[in-house]
């Protein structure tokens, strides 16, 4: 416990300097996912105005901005989850692996295996830890018991949860703590071997220690993937992300290297936001 607390205090202390963790990782220029002039409407309400952004492999991109600025709406467009909301319409191109996925013909089900998503509230199923992980792979056709077992171990290791739960895989996921549940949800996503993982305020329901564990995890996950995180927490954005995009009232106002965004904001609105003029 004290060890973890020390670690926490340590990382809080270094967060100001910015990006201690992310510097160890090699970034690449390979664009995995890109948005081209994406507009989102809820009925008549124009919630997101023409947004264009690239997401690179090996990088974490943070989407920040005040509540209702369109950052979550944008995130949910990237794996076409907005299609599940009645009355929601997404226009523009979303390019994944060089082809536009925002078409009626796109196979949503295959796509969402490649672009995983982790939600604000940990939302494991009322099943065992094991079942939580193999549920989706099984439904996607993987039935070999040995392969499934291996997948469970791999995914849990990937989510840094294996050591904590390896002896109780048949126990209910609801018996885990909030932070463990969230890591289980990440493991569940990893089991589908995604290229991109979208995090929608993944730590807002967690305590500081669990938050740091998730941040560490994101850092290691980003080695081979593109990670996109929506967060309300400025410290978190500056700690984990390579690039940051600032959204305000449905517009993507400023985008750049995280250090530049936080230390030399160009736009007045971003500056006001960072200095706490509004939230």
């Amino acid at each position: 416990m004290t060890n973890e607390t020390d670690q926490f205090l340590d990382s809080v202390a270094t967060s100001e300097a910015g990006g201690r963790r992310r510097r160890g990782r090699a970034t690449s220029s390979e664009v995995v996912l890109a948005a081209r002039d994406v507009n989102v409407y809820y009925g008549d309400h124009h919630a997101l105005h023409g947004t264009t952004l690239d997401f690179h492999k090996g990088e974490i991109t943070a989407l920040i901005g005040p509540s209702g600025c369109g950052k979550s709406t944008f995130l949910r467009s990237l794996n076409l989850m907005n299609r599940e909301i009645r009355g929601c319409r997404v226009e523009g191109e979303i390019i994944y692996r060089d082809h536009n996925i925002n078409t009626p013909k796109e196979n949503l089900y295959e796509l969402r295996r490649s672009i995983g998503m982790v939600f604000q509230q940990p939302n494991p199923f009322r099943k065992s830890i094991y079942e939580n992980i193999v549920f989706a792979p099984k439904r996607h056709g993987l039935t070999n018991k040995a392969e499934l077992d291996q997948l469970v171990e791999e995914s849990l290791r990937g989510a840094a949860l294996w050591d904590e739960v390896k002896d109780k895989l048949d126990k209910s996921a609801f018996a885990l703590s909030g932070g463990q549940q969230q890591r289980l949800c990440i493991a569940r996503t990893l089991a589908l071997k995604p290229d991109v993982i979208l995090f929608d305020e993944p730590c807002s329901a967690l305590d500081p220690i669990s938050t740091l564990a998730i941040e560490d995890l994101m850092n290691s996950l980003a080695e081979e993937r593109a990670i996109i995180i929506v967060t309300h927490n400025m410290e978190q954005a500056s700690r984990v992300s390579n690039r940051t995009a600032f959204f305000y009232m449905g517009d993507m106002v400023e985008y750049g290297e995280t250090d530049q965004i936080f230390q030399r904001p160009q736009d007045k609105r971003l500056n006001d936001y960072l200095t706490g003029m509004f939230s």
């Binding site: 009645r86 998503m117 939302n123 989706a136 209910s172 589908l192």
Partner: protein, 315 residues
């Protein structure tokens, strides 16, 4: 001068005091009246149930009442066949109505697009739920008994009861599904699963305690329904039923769904006006039996629902 000025202030103050006092009195009075009303209602419910059980419980222990067939058009003998017919019709009703209601509720909660289709469907279900059961019974009579030629039969009765039961069940299941957190749905969809898989493997299991409770409670309602049965299953059971034969077309085969049948509730309606003391004993015995069954459904619904919920959270 100061005196004349003070006087109205004082009287205003005392008027205000009186007002506050009156308000306080009103409050006490209202509380008293409401308490009395509630006491009266509770007394009414308890005494009604006690009265029926008191009047009929003796009959239940009388040899033959639960095991013998009715004689002399129901005024003598027992109610064994009525008891069987009630459960048999209930069973058939649930077999038909649960899957349809489940499908309907899933459509309305998970799939239904906004628009005229959904509006028409939910209005139709609402209409069905508010129709008097006698109208449902008459429709059943016209379509199943007359037009389809099923005459007075168990199956006609069960289908009429199905129509009566579906709106109740759809509403219960709809509610149960809506109560499952949206995040469970999102989790499935975000992993590339279909709404269908989410429903079958996650949402319905999560809603199961509420669904089971609702189904059992609705079973209690179906069990006591009579008006929809008068013209569909008829007002008499065959004189002899054979439970061992598997010749389903035989009119005396108990399992033949095309034979007439009579539920306990219809039986009460049929003979309640008979003057003989024997018939009166049977009426009250039947009423007590019906009440006990309905109470059991009620208790069962709560116990099973709670047990399922506990098992789910304990895992």
């Amino acid at each position: 001068m100061p005196n004349t000025q003070a006087a109205p202030v004082a009287s205003a103050e005392s008027a205000q005091d009186a007002h506050i006092k009156r308000a306080g009195m009103q409050d006490k009075l209202a509380t008293g009246v409401l308490t009395a009303i509630v006491a009266l209602v509770m007394l009414l419910v308890v005494s009604m149930i006690a009265y029926i059980l008191f009047q009929g419980i003796g009959m239940l222990f009388k040899p033959g009442f639960l095991t013998e067939a009715a004689r002399s058009n129901g005024t003598e003998g027992g109610v064994a066949y009525q008891l069987f017919d009630s459960f048999y019709m209930l069973f058939l009703t649930l077999i038909i109505s649960v899957p349809i209601s489940l499908g309907g509720a899933v459509f309305l909660v998970e799939y239904a697009p906004d628009g005229p289709v959904t509006t028409i469907a939910s209005t139709a279900i609402e209409t069905l739920s508010s129709l008097p059961s006698i109208v449902v019974g008459m429709f059943g009579f016209l379509v199943f008994s007359v037009n389809l030629g099923w005459k007075y039969s168990i199956i006609s009765g069960a289908v009429a009861l199905t129509m009566f039961n579906i709106p109740i069940l759809v509403r219960v299941i709809q509610q149960a599904l809506e109560d499952v957190p949206q995040s469970q749905r999102d989790a499935c969809l975000a992993m590339g699963l279909t709404r269908w898989e989410a429903t079958i493997h996650v949402l319905i299991p999560a809603a199961m305690p509420a669904i089971v409770t609702g189904v059992v409670l609705s079973a209690g309602r179906v069990f006591g329904e009579a008006a929809a049965l008068l013209f569909t299953s008829g007002m008499s059971s065959p004189v002899r039923l054979n439970f061992t034969t598997l010749n389903f077309s035989s009119p005396t085969c108990a399992w033949n769904v095309f034979r007439p049948g009579e539920s306990l509730a219809v039986h009460i309606y049929k003979i309640y006006g008979e003057g003989s003391p024997q018939a009166q004993e049977i009426v009250w015995g039947t009423a007590a039996l019906l009440m006990i069954c309905v109470l059991l459904f009620n208790i069962l619904a709560r116990i099973v629902g709670k047990a399922l919920a506990r098992r789910m959270t304990a895992e």
